[in-house]
């Protein structure tokens, strides 16, 4: 039901002088504003001697600082009479009257001390549009976007639009849609006519309501029933009762509030407001614990959770895992201020968790370091030299000046070496540019094709190049184009197979070669042995054959005859020889 703001005439305050408008502050106080003089007051102007009905006391600054601020900040908006009227239309019910009226709903009786009106959705007429074609009738829009038709002459209003007016309303709707489509805002359907003075409009609404009741049997037009009103009211009551918070934003929120407040809307709004105040749903009670979002209720942190939280804290503050606990305590004021510091009950557990954390982190960093490739410590140092060294500084001065820099603290590089590099670098800076360029190209030529070729990205030059003083001593602006040009002239990287060949495959190949060599060796040895065997065999056979032949010869010369004949033969031979000699002599 539209709440009536109808005031009994006997109780009505005297009318305001012209130019003054009546307003309601967000706190619920009524105040008066003169748009012409830009003056605002709590006292009812004009008739000061007539006691205004319970002139509201000025708001207590301590109780609600927002309220007074909002009230004054709201004033300039009202310099425009239309806006002022609209404002008035919303907030013109005097507090005592509201009190009476709300008593009917039974929710408010117990708390008389609180004179601040309870924020709750209240539907009110907002604007009216004459319906074309059916002249006396106007279409009234309420604040929440509902609408009803009203006949000022007959003082009748209906939620359900009568058939004779229906056509005009439809026409109006179509026109509104078209206007919207063309983007013509000035001709939009809603606030075409200025809303009337709030009081009269309210009265009309009230009368319309009464008429509804009279002719209720003819039109079953009541869409907003008492029960819903109570329903809304209950919700609002509950919300305020439970949360017991000042909701000063409420009036503004109401203006663009949803069309109808259902229970969910209220719950959602309550939650949103709780979020504004930084409260968890569990911290205020909206009487419906089931509807709280997950984990809203009293956050029970388990022990492991709190340990993890504390570890997160340590990690977030960049605590060095190698540092001693005392250092953490001495310098850890930022740690102590963090709310996560308090999740652990005492210092002992904190220390325990810290120990656990630092141990894990040390292990992690160890593993990471093991994975990282070994880098030449000279490279960062030389890069640093290039950035910072200049011939005006002696080595001692340079070292002193930059002793805190990591390249100068690196223990992998001896101080002597650093000094040597520094001196070399300074000396090279004094050389003519041409010489330096020549040196650089000599250096570039010295890099093997495997490391430097036309596929080498410029950011990823080989360390052999980066760690050379000849590379560093030339300015980057001169050096980089030179290197780029040189790289472009280079052939592509050598053979894919070779390019791929890494340590493992090379090793494997070496192994294989070794195996094959061993095999060959072994074969050779076996061959040798075989040959020797064969030779031995042959030798044996030869010896055997020789013996056989001897034996045969021996068999051939048999008995005495054999010997005699032999001797004879020998003798004959001798004789023949002698004869031959004699013959020669003769």
């Amino acid at each position: 039901m539209l709440r009536s703001t109808h005031k009994p005439s006997g109780n009505a305050p005297p009318p305001l002088p012209p130019g003054w408008t009546e307003h309601k502050a967000p706190t619920g106080h009524t105040y008066y504003y003169n748009a012409a003089t830009k003056e605002s007051t709590y006292k009812r102007p004009g008739l000061a001697e007539i006691a205004s009905p319970a002139p509201p006391p000025p708001p207590i600054a301590g109780a609600n600082p927002n309220a007074s601020f909002l009230q004054h900040s709201a004033i300039p908006n009202l310099s425009n009479p239309a806006a002022a009227n609209a404002w008035q239309a919303q907030f013109n019910a005097p507090p005592q009257h509201q009190q009476n009226q709300r008593g009917g709903f039974g929710g408010r009786g117990g708390r008389g001390g609180n004179d601040r009106p309870r924020p709750q959705p209240r539907d009110k007429p907002k604007s009216s549009t004459p319906i074309p074609g059916c002249e006396p009738w106007v279409l009234v829009y309420t604040k929440y976007g509902r609408r009803f038709v009203y006949n000022p002459t007959k003082q009748a209003s209906y939620w359900r639009i009568p058939e004779k007016v229906m056509k005009g309303v439809i026409e109006l709707d179509i026109k509104g849609i078209q206007d919207k489509a063309t983007g013509d805002k000035s001709a939009s359907a809603e606030p075409t006519t200025e809303p009337k003075d709030g009081d009269t409009e309210m009265a009309e609404a009230q009368e319309a309501e009464e008429e509804q009741q009279e002719i209720g049997s003819d039109y079953e037009e009541v869409e907003v029933t008492d029960s819903e009103g109570e329903h809304d009211d209950d919700n609002g009551e509950e919300g305020e009762h439970k949360s017991k918070r000042q909701r000063t934003e409420e009036p503004e929120e109401e203006e663009q509030g949803p069309v109808e407040f259902s229970e969910e809307d209220f719950a959602a709004q309550l939650q949103a407001m709780g979020a504004d105040y930084g409260l968890d749903p569990g911290e205020y009670d909206d009487g419906d614990p089931d509807a709280w979002p997950e984990g809203a209720e009293g956050l029970e942190i388990s022990e492991s959770d709190s340990r993890e939280l504390f570890k997160d804290l340590l990690a977030d503050h960049g605590v060095n895992p190698f540092s001693p606990w005392e250092k953490l305590i001495d310098e850890g004021s930022s740690l102590v201020d963090d709310p996560r510091w308090t999740v652990l009950p005492n210092m002992k557990t904190r220390r325990e968790v810290w120990e656990e954390w630092s141990r894990a982190h040390i292990q992690l960093s160890k593993e990471r370091r093991a994975k990282e490739e070994k880098k030449d410590p000279r490279i960062p140092y030389l890069a640093f030299l290039q950035a910072k060294a200049n011939p005006k500084l002696y080595w001692a001065e340079f070292r002193r000046k930059y002793r805190k820099e990591p390249p100068l603290r690196d223990t992998n590089l001896a101080d002597k070496e650093r000094e040597k590099l520094y001196r070399d670098y300074i000396a090279r800076l004094k050389l003519p540019l041409e010489t330096q360029k020549k040196d650089l190209s000599a250096l570039l030529r010295g890099v093997p094709l495997k490391d430097l070729n036309n596929k080498t990205p410029h950011e990823n030059l080989p360390s052999q190049l980066l760690s050379d003083i000849r590379y560093v001593s030339l300015q980057a602006s001169v050096r980089d184009p030179l290197i780029q040009a040189y790289i472009e002239t280079l052939p592509p990287p050598p053979e894919e197979g070779e390019a791929v060949d890494d340590e493992a495959s090379r090793k494997e190949r070496a192994e294989r070669r070794k195996r094959e060599d061993a095999l060959r060796e072994r074969e050779k040895a076996v061959e040798e042995q075989k040959r020797r065997q064969r030779r031995q065999l042959e030798h044996g056979r030869a010896v055997l054959r020789e013996e056989e032949r001897e034996l045969e010869r021996a068999q051939h010369v048999d008995g005495r005859k054999g010997i005699q004949s032999q001797l004879l033969a020998e003798r004959e031979k001798k004789g023949a020889d002698a004869g031959a000699e004699g013959g020669d002599e003769a």
């Binding site: 001693p324 250092k327 040390i362 223990t411 001896a414």
Partner: protein
């Protein structure tokens, strides 16, 4: 004149991993220097050296925990630290023994230095003290109690 020889190991560069703890050790060094240079004023004679003992203990404890408990430094680095005086090897040797896990300083277990051949008051467990609530500090190093059961 004979050549001045520096200890070979002292000039040797520290093993890998020293970079991680250098800053913290430097903090201890600075603290120690400050303590050494602080005016003793009209402090009782025995108290003058308390901060020195305290810092030495803390630093030794730091190295001890890094090596024995957290496994954060290598054996080489640990040896190097001991050799270079960053930690007291004798004190660490005591900490490894049962009953001496929290020993504050070596003087406090030196029975030969006391009249009744007893250890220092700080070695007495809290539970065995006649007046438990009384706050004592030992004369040697200002320890408030270093019994293992405390």
């Amino acid at each position: 004149m004979p050549a001045i020889r520096t200890h070979a190991s002292r000039t040797k560069k520290p093993p890998a991993g020293f970079d991680d703890i250098r800053d913290d050790l430097e903090v201890f060094n600075i603290k120690m220097k400050d303590a050494q240079n602080a005016p003793t004023g009209n402090l009782p004679k025995a108290q003058a050296q308390w901060p020195i003992f305290q810092i030495a203990h803390q630093r030794t404890r730091y190295v001890y925990e890094l090596y024995y408990e957290k496994d954060a430094i290598s054996k080489q680095l640990y040896d190097w630290l001991l050799k270079n005086g960053y930690a007291d090897a004798m004190l660490i040797a005591k900490w490894k023994k049962q009953g001496y896990e929290k020993l504050c300083c070596l003087r406090c277990v030196q029975t030969k230095e006391t009249n009744y051949s007893s250890t220092c008051i700080c070695r007495v467990p809290k539970a065995q003290m006649k007046d438990e609530t009384k706050d004592i500090q030992c004369v040697n190093c200002g320890c408030r109690g270093c019994g293992s059961s405390d």
